[in-house]
Amino acid sequence: MRTPTLMATLALLLAPAAEAGWLDSISKSVIKDLGGVKQEQPAGEAKPKPSKTELLISGVTDVLAGAAEVPYDTERVIGESLALEGFARYGLPVDDPELQRYVNLVGNAVARNSLRPTIPYHFVVVDSPLYNAFACPGGIIFVSSELVRSMHDESELAAVLAHEVGHVAHKHALGSIRRAQFLSGVGKLTAASMKGNQGQQFQGMIGDLQNVLFDKGLDQKLEFEADLAAMETAYRTGYDPRGMVRVLEALQAKEASATDKKGSWFSTHPPVGERLTRLRAVAAQYPDAASLSRLPERFAAQRAKLL
C-alpha cells in the first residue's frame, strides 16, 4: 500500500519540475555544444601558442575582454562608420522600401528574442552579386541581394539575420581587433576631437574592422557560436530553426559554380560542410522544429522583387 502511494506522490512532485525543464535542457545542450566548439582542435594536434607579435600582426585573436566594456553609444558610432564602408564595398540598398521594411520586420522579430534584445537593430538588403551577410557593431546588419535570392522561405532569412544578431550580441567584431583597445584609453571623444590623433586611431580601427569582416573573416569558433545562436533565436521566435541548415545547404550547392568568392561567405566563413555537420547535430535537439513557421509564400512575394 505504502509504496504505490509514495511513488504516486513522487511522480506528482517531479512531473512539473521535469516539464518546466524542457526549455532549459535545450539551452543547456546548446551551451554544452558551445563548449564543444571551443575544443575544436583535435587532440594531439594542438597549435603552438602564437607569440604576442604574431597576434598583433594577425589582428584576430580570441574575443578581447575589453569589447564587453565599450558603451553602446560608442559601439553605435563605430557601426555607423563601418556601415558607410559596407555600402562602398558591397553596394547600395536595393531600392524597394517594402522589401527593406519586410527584412526589418523579420530581423527585429528575431532580435528581440536574441541574447541582446534591448538595443535597436537595423537591417538592409544591398544590391550585391556576392553571397554575403555581415553585422556592424551596435546592430546594423547587411545582407546581400544574392544571398536573399538563394533562400526559399522566411525561416531561412530569419536564421541568417539571427546569425548576424548573434555576432552583435556577442560583440564578436569589436572583440576581434586589437586596435579597439585604444577606446579604453581615452576619455570622451567628440566630433571635434576626432579630427586629431583620436580620429586617426578611430579610422585605423574602422580599417581593421573592414579587414576582418570583409576579407579575413572572424575566428571560426565565433562563426559556429553565431550559428548556434541563430538556431536558438529563430526557435524562440517560432521559426523552424532548421532554416539555418537549409540556407547552408543551398550555399553548398552553389559553391562550385560561384565565380566570385572574394568578400563572400565562401571566403570569410568556415567551410560550409563543417558548419552543416555541426548544425545538423544541434537541429536534432529541437523536438518540435518541423511544426514551426517557414512561410514560403510571404517570403516569395518579397524575393520576387530581386529577380
Binding site: 509514495l6 553609444d73 560608442t74 562602398a88 528574442n113 566630433a191 571635434a192 580620429g199
Partner: protein, 169 residues
C-alpha cells in the same frame, strides 16, 4: 527489516522534496516587449508588459506556455520563447561613454533612432564620413537605413499575420 526500509523511504522522500523545492523554477524575461497574458493564448488580455531581466516564478507549465508570478505578485501566462533559465546580459551604456551619456531606457525605447530622419547622421559619424571621404550617396543610404524603424505594434501584427510563435495556436 521493515524499519530500515521505512527510514530509507522517508529519507528518499525528504531528498526528493528538497530537490523539487530547489528546482522551483525561476525564469527570466529575455525578450524585449514580452507580455504576460491572462490565458495561454496570444490574443488573450495582457496582464502586464514585462521588462527584460524580470525574474518570474513558474507555477505551472502547459505545452508552450508557463504560468508565472512576477516579483510584484501579478500572475499570468507567458510564451516559452520570451523566457530563459538565465538572466539577460546588462547593457553597458551612458557613463564613461566616449560620446556622452545614453540612458538604458532611451536605448530600449529606440529614442536614439526616432529623431534620425530629422537630424541626419550623428556628428561623430559625420566627422568620420568627412575624414574618410565617404560619398554622399553612401551617407544618404545610411541616413535612410537609420530612419527606418519598426514599431512594436507593427511587429506584433507581422507575427500575427504569419502565425508565428505564440500566434501559431
Amino acid at each position: 527489516m521493515r524499519h530500515p526500509l521505512r527510514i530509507a523511504s522517508a529519507l528518499l522522500l525528504v531528498l526528493l522534496l528538497a530537490t523539487a523545492a530547489a528546482a522551483q523554477t525561476t525564469l527570466w524575461v529575455t525578450s524585449q516587449g514580452a507580455t504576460l497574458k491572462a490565458e495561454k493564448k496570444a490574443l488573450s488580455g495582457t496582464v502586464a508588459t514585462l521588462t527584460a531581466g524580470t525574474a518570474l516564478t513558474v507555477l505551472e507549465t502547459d505545452a508552450k506556455w508557463y504560468r508565472v508570478t512576477t516579483p510584484n505578485g501579478q500572475q499570468g501566462w507567458i510564451y516559452r520563447g520570451k523566457v530563459s533559465d538565465a538572466p539577460p546580459a546588462q547593457e553597458q551604456s551612458g557613463s564613461g561613454g566616449l560620446f556622452g551619456a545614453v540612458t538604458s531606457s532611451s536605448i530600449e525605447a529606440g529614442a536614439a533612432d526616432t529623431s534620425r530622419s530629422i537630424r541626419g547622421l550623428s556628428p561623430e559619424t559625420e566627422q568620420y564620413a568627412n575624414s574618410a571621404g565617404s560619398p554622399q550617396q553612401n551617407r544618404d543610404a545610411l541616413d535612410r537605413l537609420m530612419a527606418l524603424n519598426v514599431t512594436a505594434p507593427e511587429l506584433e501584427r507581422f507575427l500575427q499575420d504569419g502565425r508565428i510563435g505564440e500566434y501559431a495556436e
